[in-house]
């Protein structure tokens, strides 16, 4: 053996990669739990989520840790021992021979903390804005490769002749012989290309939330969770896409993100108000020839009865204007869908998706229902 490590890079790194891919598998199979996890919502500055189930446990047949007596060092000072206090950091013996003592049960009890970033990446890997028309010319989902500058290296096809000529002239002038002569390697210039945000695939997302008094803690939590993950997903996958936050009770207002996620609830419900506001905003600010529009409305379905017909009609107009209009009702108990839900369900056309949410598990289902890459247009 030469020197250690011989092929450490490939070896240890491969084992580590495999373990991380196991963690990712675990994240994927537990997405529902994660998305539902209340703590994620809090903007408390923590960017990790606690994932006790991702320990990648190694199962053994061994003694139970509890209720079995064993021998250990006694607490407190030992006879003639004075270094107990002087050496507080020495938690464990400093040496280790090649003995094969494996991780004990206690060691395995630590939880893996997985960065929110990593969880998001897994959640969002399969999500996309559906039916996006890339031809609409506004900032949005598209990017293109364009020339971003001039560099000294590149393929012959990317040879920038004018810059090369200039570089040659400049070098000769510096040396005291003005004019073009003696083209050398250091004069060569090439076009450098890179991805740039392009004015194509323009998109806007309208987040509409019912903030009426009838939205209880549970309904609000589900609605906010959905929008939280939607915003995270858009920021990550489509940083150019604009998001408009609309809150409504009997009247609708455009609010900023902070207010949207943290305001209280009061008042009755008139859904048509928010649809009309959405229509106005789309027409004024996001013309359909330049923007793909996505509108999502979360409500408890307790719309004012007299408003149902108008809401249905404005909603249908919104659906025809938007690439997708998602209407979601949150019911904490099994009850019949509202007339509005039934009305939207019966509307024809691919531009409209409806969904009922009953439990926290449904947040993930809603995300996949609306943004799943193989989006199933059938009604959930």
């Amino acid at each position: 053996m030469g020197s250690w490590p011989p092929d450490d890079e490939t070896h240890a790194a491969a084992d580590k990669r495999r373990q991380q891919s196991r963690i990712r598998e675990a994240i994927r199979s537990n997405l529902g739990d994660l998305v539902r996890e209340r703590k994620i919502l809090g903007s408390d500055g923590r960017h990790t989520v606690k994932l006790p189930m991702f320990r990648c446990p190694e199962f053994r047949i061994r003694f139970g840790w509890h209720d079995t007596e064993r021998v250990g060092q006694a607490p407190g000072g030992l006879p003639g021992d004075t270094n107990g206090a002087a050496c507080p950091s020495a938690q464990a013996p400093g040496m280790n021979s090649a003995a094969g003592g494996d991780g004990s049960a206690a060691e395995d009890e630590t939880e893996d903390r997985v960065p929110l970033e990593e969880v998001s990446a897994e959640v969002f890997a399969d999500l996309a804005l559906p039916d996006l028309d890339p031809a609409r010319t506004a900032p949005g989902a598209g990017s293109s490769v364009e020339v971003v500058g001039i560099g000294r290296g590149g393929l012959r096809q990317q040879w920038a002749k004018k810059s090369t000529l200039l570089a040659n002239l400049r070098r000769n002038a510096m040396a005291g012989w003005p004019g073009f002569s003696g083209l050398a390697r250091q004069d060569l210039r090439f076009w450098v290309s890179g991805p740039v945000a392009a004015e194509q695939g323009g998109a806007v997302v309208l987040a509409m939330m019912d903030t009426s008094g009838s939205m209880g803690t549970f309904e609000k939590y589900l609605a906010k969770s959905f929008f939280f993950w939607t915003v995270e997903f858009l920021r990550r996958n489509y940083p150019q896409v604009e998001i408009v936050f609309l809150a409504h009770d009997v009247r609708a207002r455009e609010v900023d993100e902070e207010t949207f996620f943290h305001r209280g609830a009061s008042g009755g419900t008139v859904s048509s108000s928010v649809y009309r506001l959405a229509l106005d905003i789309l027409v004024e600010r996001f013309p359909a020839d330049r923007y793909n529009a996505y509108a999502f409305h979360f409500t408890d379905g307790g719309n004012l009865t007299s408003d149902n017909a108008i809401a249905l009609e404005t909603g249908a107009r919104l659906a025809s204007l938007a690439t997708l209009f998602g209407y979601s009702e949150i019911h904490d108990s099994e009850r019949h869908p509202s007339p509005l839900f039934r009305g939207f369900s019966q509307l024809p056309g691919p531009g409209l998706g409806v969904m009922l949410l009953h439990s926290q598990e449904d947040i993930l289902r809603a995300l996949f229902h609306f943004f799943g890459k193989s989006r199933d247009t059938s009604r959930a």
């Binding site: 495999r18 061994r62 139970g64 060092q73 090649a98």
Partner: protein
């Protein structure tokens, strides 16, 4: 930062002294290794080349974390082979290195003389490298999923390859569960049997080391203490050695410090019979034997040990008499802290594997038992596996068939 030449000079100071005292460490190949390298080695139980498996990645992370928070630090690793390999931390001071070299010489001496290591082959580094190549080959041929799941399941049984340090060719004694399934599991293919046999060989290599944790570390600590007292060291070196030694034998209740207890046992032996008795104990004892023969009332008081009842809401200790401490300690150390699991060769058949737990007063961990049996039933025996044991005083038979878990009276 130590250089190879520094190390050679330090070895030249310690080695003659050690031989003069009667240590016989044989040939040792010393290697200076950086922090990351040592962590990597420690996560692979000190062996430079191990088969590829995610558990080593996990273990590497754990070693790294423990290091980062200064919970423990690895200074040296010794491989029991001929010549022995010693990996030494290159970031230490010269004083630390002096002590570590003395410690390493004693480990090598212990490996060469203790009876538990008599049947260990002397080329395990090369064998493990060969296992690694074979396993990588099977991964290529049969898919990494097939190999990984087999290793996952095999690791459950790697603690049960036979309790004796004599090797009975695999699968011929009831306590060699691993050898038994490698031979007899009905549906395994040839490469899977070979893979299990390789893993069993590796587990057999580590088994004597698991049985002699206190004896080996105690012996090494005894010798580094003794040699450091005799060596001519400068003031700074002496300070570094003393400081490192203090860290090694420091206690952190409730964890048992094997270095400390082992040192006290060997100091006691030396007191009563001089160096010949120390060498006699080195040749003869594993941890259980050492405690059985030399743990007495006087030592019990000196060692400051207590009997603990671990609880979720904080461990509860009780002061116990020397006799109680001794008997609980012996029970902890016997069989390296592993339960006694036997193959029930009479009841076992190709469609059902029967295991028996020889109960010694300690119940098994029933939280993870189903998952452990599931791995064996699902991947290795590919038929139901039953473990007969005692739970809170009543006889139970726990069965897993790969999908369902059954826990019933027997």
């Amino acid at each position: 930062m130590l250089k190879p030449l520094d190390l050679a000079a330090l070895i030249d100071r310690v080695w003659p002294l050690a031989e003069e005292q009667g240590l016989c460490p044989g040939q040792i190949h010393f290697e200076l290794v950086g922090r990351d390298g040592l962590d990597g080695l420690a996560s692979q139980q000190g062996m430079p080349l191990r088969y590829a498996h995610w558990s080593f990645g996990k273990s590497y992370q754990r070693v790294k974390d423990a290091n980062a928070f200064q919970r423990s630090q690895v200074y040296e690793l010794v491989v029991n082979s001929d010549p022995a390999y010693a990996f030494i931390d290159s970031c230490g001071t010269r004083g630390q290195a002096l002590l570590i070299i003395a410690h390493v010489l004693a480990h090598a001496d212990f490996f060469r003389h203790n009876r538990c290591f008599r049947e260990i082959p002397h080329d395990m580094i090369a064998r493990m490298a060969a296992h690694r190549r074979r396993i990588a080959g099977w991964s290529g041929q049969y898919g990494s999923q097939a190999v990984e799941s087999l290793i996952d399941a095999a690791q459950v049984l790697m603690d049960f390859t036979g309790e004796s340090t004599r090797d009975a060719a695999g699968g011929l004694t009831a306590d060699d569960v691993m050898g038994y399934v490698a031979r007899r599991a009905p549906l395994l293919t040839q490469w899977e049997r070979e893979c299990l046999a390789d893993l069993r060989t590796e587990a057999r290599y580590f088994w004597p080391q698991q049985l002699t944790k206190i004896a080996n570390e105690g012996y090494a600590t005894f010798w580094h203490t003794r040699l450091m007292r005799k060596i001519a060291a400068g003031a700074e070196e002496a300070w570094d050695t003393a400081r490192l030694n203090a860290q090694i034998v420091a206690v952190a209740p409730p964890a048992l410090n094997p270095y400390r207890l082992g040192y006290q046992l060997f100091a006691r032996i030396h007191e009563s019979g001089g160096l010949p008795a120390v060498f006699g104990a080195r040749d003869l004892y594993d941890d259980g034997g050492l405690v059985r023969a030399w743990f007495d009332d006087c030592l019990a008081e000196q060692a400051g040990l207590a009997v603990y009842q671990p609880r979720a809401d904080g461990d509860k200790s009780r002061m116990a008499g020397a006799e109680t401490v001794k008997s609980v300690l012996q029970r902890d150390l016997e069989c390296a802290g592993m339960p006694h699991i036997r193959v029930d060769g009479v009841r076992s058949n190709p469609s059902h594997l029967y295991l028996r737990h020889v109960h010694d007063g300690r119940d098994l961990d029933f939280a993870e038992l189903p998952s452990a049996l599931k791995l064996v039933a699902g991947r290795i025996w590919q038929a139901p596996v039953t473990l007969a044991t005692i739970r809170q005083g009543s006889c139970r038979e726990m069965t897993h068939d790969g999908t369902n878990w059954l826990d019933r009276d027997s």
